[in-house]
Amino acid sequence: MTEYEKLDDFPLTPITTTPSSANKTGGWRTLRPIIDEKKCIKCYMCWKFCPDVAIDIVEGKPVINYDYCKGCGICAHECPVNCIEMEKEAI
C-alpha cells in the first residue's frame, strides 16, 4: 500500500488502482493441495473451478500458485482422477 503523507497525495475519492494481487492470501491456508503430476490427465477442472485464480496452466500442466491458494480444497474434490491431495500446511 502506498504511503500517503500529504493531503494532496489523496485522490478526490477512494479510487482503486492497485490490483488485489498485492495481497498474498496464501497465508490463509491450513491445508495445501499437491498435484500428482504423474496421475494428472490435464483436464483442467482444477483450473476452471479455482475461486482464487490460484492455478496457472504452465506448458500444458496445472501449477498451483501457493502465494494465493487459500486451501479451500475445491480442486482436490473436483479432480476426476483424484490426483490432488490436501496435506496439512507446515507450521
Binding site: 495481497n23 476452471k48 482464487d52 502465494d67 480444497g73 474434490h77
Partner: protein, 302 residues
Amino acid sequence: MGKITIPEEELMSSGHVGCHGCGAVLAMRYVLKGLGKKTIMSIPACCWAVMPGVWPHRALEIPLLNTAFETTGASISGIRAALDALGKEDITVVGFAGDGGTADIGIQALSGMVERSTNAIYIMYDNEAYMNTGIQRSSATPRGAWTTTTPVGTQGTWKKNPKKNLMDIMVAHKIPYAATASIAYPEDLIRKLTKAKEIQGPKFIHIYAPCPTGWRLAPELGVDIARLAVATKAFFVYEVENGVYKINLQPKDKPLSEYIKLQGRFRHLSEEQINELQKAVDWEWERLQKLEKFTQALYKRS
C-alpha cells in the same frame, strides 16, 4: 490432454478476500469471462463490495462503480444513459448484486430499470441470505434454512416462507431475456452472458452461488453442492426469451435429502420436514416443465 472449455483470459485477480470456496467469486470470474473488457460494472453493498479488499485494492480489470445498497438498478440506468449521451452505446453495462440487494431492498430499482427497457444486464448472485452482514435471512433464503435472524432455538423459528421467485417477477415485466445459471456449469453461464450482451434491452441473470460459510458447508464442496442443487431440483437452470421458457439442464432424479444433508443450515430438519420440501421441489419442477411446454406451444402458434 483436456480442452479448455471457457475463455482463458482472467479479468479477476487473485488476492481478493473471499472466503474459502466462495461461490460468488466463481460467479464473478465467469461473468467477466463472458462479458469481456468492454464492460462497466456497478456493485452495491454486498460481499463483492468488500471482496477486492480495502482501498486502494481492486480485483477487477474493468471499471467498477460502487453504489448504495438498494440502488443497483438505478445506478446502471445512470451509467447507461451517460454512455449513450457520450456516444458510447457499445459498452456493456452490468449490475452485479447479491440476493439481498436485488430481491429485497433493491427490488424497486430493479423493477424500474427493467420496466424502462434499460439496455443493461442485471446479475443477481444468489447465496441465499444477507451474507456480507453476517448471514441474515433474505427473501431468497430457501424454506427450512437456519440464518442468524431465523435461528432454530427451542421455538423452531427457521425460515418457513418459500424462496421468492425472481425469475417469475422478471418474466412478468416482459423482459426480453432472463436466465438462471450455476457456478457448477460455467460453460452454460458464460454462454448466457455472451448471449445477453448481444440483446438490446434489459436482461436478468440469476446465478446460484453457494456460500460455504453461511450454509455451514465444507468449502471443498463449494462447486459440487451447486451440481447437486441442479440434480436434486433445489435449483433449476433455464432461460426465458421473450416469455418462452427453455430448460437447459435436467435434474438427475436424486432425492433432495442428498443436497440438504450436506449443509449445516438444514441440520435441524426432520425426515418429515425434508419430505415436505421434496414435495415442494417436485411441484416446482412439474410447473417449470409445463411452463416450458405451454410457452413453446404459444410461440409456435404466434
